[in-house]
């Protein structure tokens, strides 16, 4: 039980992990992540890698939707840009030594995605809400179309996709998923930290101000144009990183991986986790990845290899996914973060108040 927050300096008051429980939690998370690649089996590594990649992307989506309040249903296209940048430039950059290539290509993927993010974010200067949602959704369709198109097919592989390289960072060839997990985990933690930092400063506050009341933000000297585009660029950059990691993680990428379904998955994870909170994407991604896995396991056990019943698995997963979105919006629009907040609060005050 914490009886109060007694701070002697402003610096102490501005800390994120401002009590011992939070610090202990963070230390435990980092320790278990460090131990994970040594102890976990292949299946757990696979699931954890998927979660890590998705987490980076959802953190990005959180910047635009959760903090800046701009609705986007097209973020999968930035993931696509990141992934294809990696695949394409690995093939183009012949002279560069392998051990250096990822260190050039990953920042490049992030940069290209951020630029596309600014472009796709342009409609946000004119419209908001639903119109923006449809504008971004349209952008997603168009970008996937361009990737599939015959003109770019020599580089992108068109409909059938393209094989992706094995990352080699400073001589460390990451040819197993266990090794790539390390890369993904470091990137995911880094992204979370950077984005968390952002919201301790004027830039992050400006985003939230635009979300809460845009005209009021304007009166404080916040340029809507500049910050909306910055927000889009930052979130696209996160998604670009996620895409780059995806390209390294999977042996092959296909355009259909980056269609509307992925965009919806990103937003769904955010809704389930909680919008505009640092931990929201974390909780959301865990649920959105685990629910289909659990259904798969249950189905495997229940049907015992019956083929006709096993056909029902994919639709059931789809329905569960939709129901997650709907039920959270109906009963806890602020997501799992709000639920954990309430539990922590109750524990804190127990036994005096409920």
């Amino acid at each position: 039980m914490i009886n109060g927050n007694l701070k002697a300096t402003y610096a102490a008051d501005e800390r994120v992990l401002d009590n011992r429980n939070k610090q202990a939690f963070m230390a435990a998370v980092i320790l278990s992540l460090a131990a994970f690649p040594l102890l976990a089996n292949d299946y757990l590594i696979l699931v954890a890698c998927q979660m890590g990649i998705l987490l980076i992307a959802v953190t990005g989506v959180n910047v635009v939707i959760g903090y800046t309040g701009l609705m986007s249903l097209g973020h999968a296209c930035f993931v696509a840009i990141g992934a294809y940048t990696v695949a394409v430039f690995h093939n183009l950059a012949g002279g560069v030594p392998d051990w250096l290539l990822p260190l050039i290509v990953i920042p490049l993927a992030i940069g290209v995605s951020a630029l596309v993010g600014i472009l796709v974010g342009l409609p946000s200067l004119r419209v908001k809400g639903l119109y923006l949602a449809v504008a971004t959704l349209s952008a997603n369709f168009i970008i996937i179309f361009l990737i599939e198109n015959d003109i770019l097919a020599p580089w992108t592989g068109g409909h059938v996709g393209v094989n992706t390289p094995v990352p080699n960072i400073l001589g460390w060839e990451m040819d197993s998923r266990r090794e790539i997990f390390v890369l993904i985990a470091v990137c995911a933690l880094g992204t979370l930290l950077l984005i968390q930092n952002l919201f301790r400063t004027r830039v992050g506050r400006a985003f939230i101000a635009i979300r809460d009341k845009d005209y009021s933000a304007e009166i404080l000297g916040i340029s809507l144009m500049r910050y909306k585009l910055t927000s889009f660029a930052l979130s696209a950059a996160c998604c670009g990183l996620a895409g780059a990691l995806m390209a390294y993680f999977y042996a092959r990428i296909l355009p259909e991986q980056f269609e509307l379904a992925l965009s919806l998955q990103l937003v769904a994870a955010l809704i389930v986790g909680g919008m505009g909170r640092t931990m929201g994407p974390v909780f959301g991604v865990i649920v959105i990845v685990m629910v289909p896995e659990v259904i798969k396991t249950v189905f495997g056990a229940a049907t015992g290899g019956d083929v006709t019943l096993a056909q029902l698995r994919a639709p059931v997963q789809e329905i569960a996914f939709g129901l997650l979105i709907i039920l959270f919006l109906l009963f806890e629009p602020l997501g799992l973060v709000r639920i954990t907040d309430r539990i922590l609060q109750a524990m804190n005050q127990w036994p005096f108040a409920r």
């Binding site: 930092n197 952002l198 992050g204 506050r205 400006a206 939230i208 809460d212 404080l220 916040i222 340029s223």
Partner: protein, 261 residues
Amino acid sequence: MLNVQGVELSFGGIKALRGVSFEAAPGEITGIIGPNGAGKTSLFNTISGFYKPDAGRVAFDGQDITTLSPDKRAELGIARTFQNIALFRGMTVLDNIKLGGHKRLKSGVFSALRYFGAARREELAFRREIEERVIDFLELDLIRKAPITALSYGLQKRVELGRALAMQPKLLLLDEPVAGMNREETADMARFILDVQEQFGTTILLVEHDMGLVMDICSKIVVLNFGEQIASGTPAEVSRHPDVIEAYLGTAQDSAQPDAA
């Protein structure tokens, strides 16, 4: 300080402002009064940049700002509060006030992402400043971590004033700062407004229906009726002006003048 000349504004066929001209003297409190629908808030929105006037010009500090966007005007030192409180409801009091200092802080996106280093130093220095200049000044220290939604109406108005003060404005536009407040809260707010004028030398422009407050603290008053400027001058002059008495305070026979007048 602020010079409004012949401003006209219309929405569709409705003339909201027809040729309003006045000047707000530096360091003084200027009041704008008028019956509901007289165009007071439209005038404020024109001064702060949400509406572009059809004719006339607005000058601030000798610079023509008629066509500048609201955020550019904020940069020049114009702050305002809103009639229906426009605080950021998802944030704490402290964050709301910090937002007022947006334009005075410098850290860019990349130093913000790193946080440790320049951005942190700047944030901490700024925190100290607003604690001293705004939070202590407006007596908000007990609620600095409270979410906006948990505050009473009067306190929210005060936080909004705090947010404007964090901008260190040269000109402060207050749109009905005491509307809907009880007597005690009104007295508090009046004290704060006078303190701001005294301590920071801020020029203040004030829209208000509370005649007592306006007559007490303003050194000059502009009266609008149906978008037209019908009088301007000291409180004493204005309250004797026949047009004002007819349009705003009622006809002379009613003798319904507030005792402050």
